[in-house]
């Protein structure tokens, strides 16, 4: 089964990605040979850094594949991080924390869906509303001086985690990092092999055609936004409950937006977006390592720019080449 946006990677692109993949792999192997500890540290950190980006991108692409441009992911993540953390503090349960983080992300999704799908408001404005609302709410109600009650711990798979290089990187991981990898492949499968996926893509490309085939485009969009909220929520929960262990003001730090760049770079496919997220994660990890090692005397402000710089460059190159879903950003109105 071939779809245009999925398979229109022409052969030039394939060769480019293949060669850069090989190059990257050899660099990793070489550096593992030179200093295994630093390499493992960088790779583990890349995977961790890529997690919220990949989850955010999943949220973005589930919305966009059905034709809704969601720039409120940043806000959804922030709300999720906040509520996840609060519930964790109140109940002492990390699991409940994660669940309420996800619920917060989905709730923000419902609000966004009501505004964009039911009321047909401008999607960019609604996304901005969600972002402002999240920043305002979490900033205002943020209680200072609450102590963290721990964070999600890494789990070591027996045997597998003993393997060289891949063991510590892939099989000694914390739960959300690991689930993200599974979710990426799951969403990819759902999007390209199930009824839900086919209908989602049809609604995103040409909602009127879907409508004539008895598919209610607006309902599809509505629940896709809510499903997207699940992923944004999980990303937020990851930030406060797994990565940092406390909530900080504005702790998403633009990740919701970088996730959109990641999604575009990955051509609106989950696996593509994951690859892009890993690349960004790597950039972030290298940056931290540089600061940590003090090997180069670059001011940290400059290394800190790295991920944002990459975002701009990637968007400049790819936003024109990669074709978005046909009806992206246009509310669907019946005749």
């Amino acid at each position: 089964m071939i779809t245009a946006s999925k398979a229109k990677t022409d052969s030039k692109d394939r060769i480019f990605f293949f060669l850069s993949g090989i190059l990257l792999l050899s660099i990793i192997l070489y550096s593992y040979w030179i200093s295994p500890l630093v390499t493992v540290a960088i790779l583990t950190s890349s995977l961790r850094q890529s997690t919220p980006l990949a989850l955010g991108a999943l949220c973005g692409l589930i919305c966009e594949r059905s034709g809704v441009m969601n720039i409120g992911i940043e806000g959804q993540m922030l709300l999720a991080a906040f509520f996840g953390f609060l519930v964790n503090v109140w109940t002492g349960s990390l699991l409940l924390g994660v669940i309420s983080g996800i619920a917060a992300g989905m709730l923000a999704g419902i609000i966004f869906a009501l505004m964009t799908v039911s009321m047909k408001m401008d999607q960019i404005i609604c996304g901005t509303i969600v972002n402002l609302l999240a920043a305002g709410l979490t900033g205002y109600f943020y209680p200072t001086g609450i102590n963290a009650t721990g964070k999600l711990k890494a789990y070591s798979f027996p045997f597998l985690s003993e393997l060289p290089l891949v063991g510590p990187v892939l099989f000694r991981v914390s739960p959300i990092v690991f689930s993200t990898i599974i979710l990426v492949f799951l969403v990819h499968f759902l999007l390209f092999f199930t009824q839900w996926g086919l209908r989602t893509r049809a609604v995103g490309e040409y909602p009127r055609a879907a409508d004539t085939m008895g598919i209610n485009a607006n309902i599809v969009r509505f629940y896709n936004i809510i499903i997207g909220g699940f992923f944004a929520g999980l990303a937020g929960a990851f930030l406060s409950l797994e990565a940092v262990g406390v909530f900080e003001r504005g702790m998403t730090n633009g990740r919701g937006f970088i996730a959109l760049a990641v999604m575009i770079f990955g051509k609106w496919t989950p696996i593509g977006a994951w690859g892009a997220a890993l690349l960004f994660g790597l950039a972030l990890a290298v940056q931290t390592q540089l600061q940590f090692d003090q090997v180069l005397s670059i001011p940290h402000q400059f290394t800190g720019m790295l991920p944002y710089l990459i975002t701009i460059i990637v968007l400049a190159i790819f936003i024109k080449r990669n074709r978005p879903p046909g009806s992206l950003g246009v509310p669907y109105e019946k005749k």
Partner: protein, 504 residues
């Protein structure tokens, strides 16, 4: 044919903000018949069909299917009732394969995934049944229109449609494709499928219909069988006045050269050569016709001339000046007028009003700007004048173009391009989707513009149109001009042969 009624409409009325699209329509479809629905542009044909297929709700009236009164709230219900519709503008998801388009909305499921194997089997069975072949894995946007239409037919058959509605299916087809379509329709009728067929081409109606309904301004004017009527009578009933279906125009008296292309080579969007080494010239007071099966480079040719597509090599000269590539405004200011092939994509801004669409090329000039901004008075005045002159059916100049009927959308483009000061016109399929009255009007206007001094390049897959209007005829085949014929020497048969195989 049995005399069983499969579909009956009683007193259907529909109004759009004060515009009566259908008023008190009665309509009967019998089992296994092909029922042609005729009517001028904006008569309300598409509206009526959209009501049957659940896309629109009537304000009043009843629908009976197999004698039972039904309410068709949405397309899903229509599909359940066995109604399949092929829309004037195809409802195909461009990036999807034929298979994906066919099963969309009625996917066979195995476990959690779509059962693609099962879908393939079903499509193969349908193929055998109806003698229709299709490549399930082809991406639909790359397919020629005739095949896209076949995908649409498959969509309906896949859902076991017993009533098939085709809204102007032949408007985009070449004669050979039309013949194929008619063969398909005859086969379907034998399988007891009933068909409603909308068209503006009267000879097709006489050729295929079992009964004919004529609509005018939302009202059914009468139902006939092809034996008791003829093309002329139908045309007059539709338009409400006498129409000349065939015209012999005075020959041209060409002047000096206004437009010339030399050794033009153009690539298509996928990087293949679509126009190869084409040279020709158009003189004042002359219509040069380009005949050819659609998809032989006409679109790329006219786009490159209009400055919308990159030229690989060659040169274009307009009014004695060599034109830079990719500069539509320069072309327009030098006297180019352009009726593009794809009206929705390249001709109109759909959400904009009629008035604004009519000044798309001149909005920055007087009288449409004054002091600091637009001059709404002048814009509206221009629009009212054009709406009257071209008989555009709409509530007024402020109506959004997307609300117009297909034929009236085409008239908006024509009104804009014909009313501008220009010295050279490319008209690509100018009468596609127009009713006979409007076709006659556009043809007369083309001749009038020619006699006023314009050079015209007419691109059309309607051989009739090419033969009756052009003074010189070029036949294009696989991007090359294969033959240049003077009007006197041209016959339908010889040109038709060159069109399909590149030589006599």
């Amino acid at each position: 044919m049995d005399d069983i009624t499969v579909l009956k409409l009683k007193g259907i009325s529909k109004t759009f903000h004060g515009v009566r699209a259908n008023s008190d329509v009665d309509f009967t479809l019998k089992k296994g018949e092909i029922h042609a629905l005729l009517g001028e542009n904006g008569a309300g044909k598409s509206t009526l069909m959209n009501i049957i297929s659940g896309l629109l709700q009537p304000d009043k009236g009843e629908i009976f299917i197999h004698g039972k009164r039904q309410k068709i709230q949405n397309p899903r219900r229509a599909i359940q009732l066995g109604i399949g519709m092929i829309h004037q503008h195809f409802m195909i998801v461009p990036g999807f394969t034929s298979l994906e388009n066919i099963i969309l909305g009625s996917e066979p499921i195995k476990g959690v995934t779509i059962d693609f194997q099962q879908a393939r089997r079903q499509i193969a069975i349908l193929s055998d049944d109806c003698g229709l072949s299709i490549d399930p894995d082809a991406v639909t946007e790359d397919l020629p229109v005739g095949i896209q239409q076949r995908v649409e037919i498959f969509k309906a058959l896949y859902r076991n449609a017993g009533i098939l509605i085709l809204d102007e299916p032949t408007a985009v087809l070449i004669p050979q494709e039309t013949d194929t379509l008619f063969k398909i329709l005859r086969k379907l009728v034998k399988k007891n499928i009933s068909i409603i067929f909308i068209t503006h081409k009267l000879q097709e109606v006489m050729q295929i219909a079992d009964s004919i309904s004529v609509m005018q301004q939302g009202v059914i004017k009468g139902v006939f069988s092809p034996e008791e009527t003829d093309e002329q009578a139908l045309a007059e009933l539709m338009i409400g006045r006498e129409v000349l279906l065939k015209n012999d125009y005075l020959p041209a008296r060409p002047g000096k050269i206004v437009f010339e292309v030399k050794k033009l080579t153009v690539m298509n969007s996928r990087g293949y050569e679509a126009v190869s080494d084409v040279s020709f010239r158009v003189r004042e007071r002359e219509i040069v016709g380009i005949a050819g099966v659609q998809g032989n480079g006409q679109a790329e040719l006219s786009e490159s001339i209009a400055g919308l597509r990159k030229i690989k090599s060659g040169e274009i000269t307009l009014s004695g000046r060599r034109m830079p590539a990719l500069n539509p405004r320069k072309m327009i200011e030098n006297g180019l007028a352009h009726i593009p092939e794809d009206r929705l994509k390249h001709g109109l801004v759909l959400p904009f009003s009629i008035a604004d669409n009519q000044i798309l090329c001149t909005y920055y000039r007087r009288p449409y700007v004054h002091f600091f901004g637009r001059n709404p008075k002048a814009i509206l005045k221009n629009s009212r004048k054009l709406i009257n002159r071209f008989h555009i059916k709409a509530r007024g100049p402020e109506e959004a173009v997307q609300n117009l009927s297909g034929g009236n959308q085409q008239k908006v483009i024509i009104s804009r391009e014909f009313s501008r000061d220009s010295s050279f016109l490319i008209a690509n399929q100018p009468t596609r989707g127009l009713d006979v009255g409007s076709v006659e009007y556009v043809h007369k206007q083309l001749i009038m513009l020619r006699d006023k001094g314009l050079g015209v390049l007419l691109i059309s897959s309607e051989l009739d149109e090419i033969l009756s209007l052009s003074d010189t005829i070029l036949v294009i085949y696989r991007g090359r001009v294969c033959s240049i014929v003077r009007k006197e020497d041209a016959t339908m048969e010889s040109i038709g042969r060159i069109m399909v195989r590149g030589f006599e």
